[in-house]
Amino acid sequence: MTEKRNLLIGGGLVGAVAVVLVALGNPANMGFCIACFLRDIAGAVGLQRAEVVQYLRPEIPGLILCAFIMALFKKEFSVRGGSSPVLRFAIGFIVMVGALVFLGCPYRMILRLAGGDLNALIGLLGFVAGICAGVFFLNRGFSLGKTVAMPRKTEGLVIPISAVVLLALLLAGGAGVLIFSESGPGSQHAPALAALAAGLLVGAIAQRVRLCMVGGIRDMLLFKDPTLLMGFIAVLVVALVGNIITGRFNPGFLEQPVAHTDGLWNFLGLAAVGFGSALLGGCPLRQLILAGEGNSDSGIAVLGMLVGAAFCHNFGLASSAAGTTPNGRIAVVLGLVILCLVGVMNSGLAGGKSKASSRSAKREA
């Protein structure tokens, strides 16, 4: 019961933070979005050159740093890794492609729903379908392999220190190296210190209550356990109420902020996100938190998402309010096919002896 209560409170606060960030200047229905913000950061450091989506969003490094500090404080900083790192990078990449074809991570999907964007409802159906696919393989022994403790703590410090460097560059006004959009979503942002504070707060909450947008639906499907779903629901309800109060609730499909109406690709885009995230063991937000806690498997998934975001714009995969792109549609289908292949090959379905089969190995005590 305590866990459910904490998730309700934590999720509610996270929903409220998103509403406040929009009021302070973040793009509409994008108070917080892991995919969009990683993409903006990729643009700020010049990995992609789409002029309308370049800004160093302090929410992301703030989130990582606070997860790092909380983990240290609670003695949960644990440097582990070695569970299929390159595969995790690739899955992170595919998750980002799906997210940028839909235009949002699962967190933003909820925020879009809370703003009345019904395209996100189609996305949610795809998200659930994707998680169902992940659960199918998990039930058949899917595994990316064991993580092991790293020999030194250094490995777990790379991501938090990178977050500090990015923040320092931002607070130095870009230091002449960062690129900031002058128009478009990248130019719309809350004041840096407020956004940083929001990132730190969300990082602290998500680390403590283990908020995960994929975990709730996954655990319902796997174990009929609604606990983690409480966080998901609380984000939705609080953001919805916040939007109604601030006059930002506009139900409908058309002319929604930073969204398109291509239902099939909203469905398939988030299906790739749900599927990939279920295989990774958590949503993009959760991967960032785990990376802050010293988990280098999640660190590599985050890097996969960052590089994926850059490719999305360099290769014309990302959607815009005008709609999806042919390249983006091809990339989502390819991504789903690759995820299926990974699912088959890393579970007991490919034939031969799977590592996963050793999971049931037990010894008599």
Partner: protein, 70 residues
């Protein structure tokens, strides 16, 4: 003799799936080894939902969770 399921090093949600499989084979009791707080919380919650009493003790770098039918 309780069976022991070694879920150390497994990422979410594998420890719970392994626990579910272990309890399906031996419904009376089992022990699960996990090495992080998240897995400990998830396995304990699952066990309680299934009507088991869960106790655990820390053994150096990992937790030994004992599940018994309540």
């Amino acid at each position: 003799m309780a069976s022991v399921t070694d879920a150390r090093g497994r990422s979410c949600p594998e420890p719970v799936i392994m626990t579910k499989a272990a309890l399906a084979q031996r419904p009376d009791c089992c022990e699960v080894l996990v090495d992080n707080q998240t897995a400990l919380g998830n396995v304990t919650r699952f066990a309680k939902n299934q009507g088991y009493a869960a106790t655990f003790r820390e053994e150096g770098e990992f937790f030994r969770v004992s599940l018994r039918r309540a």
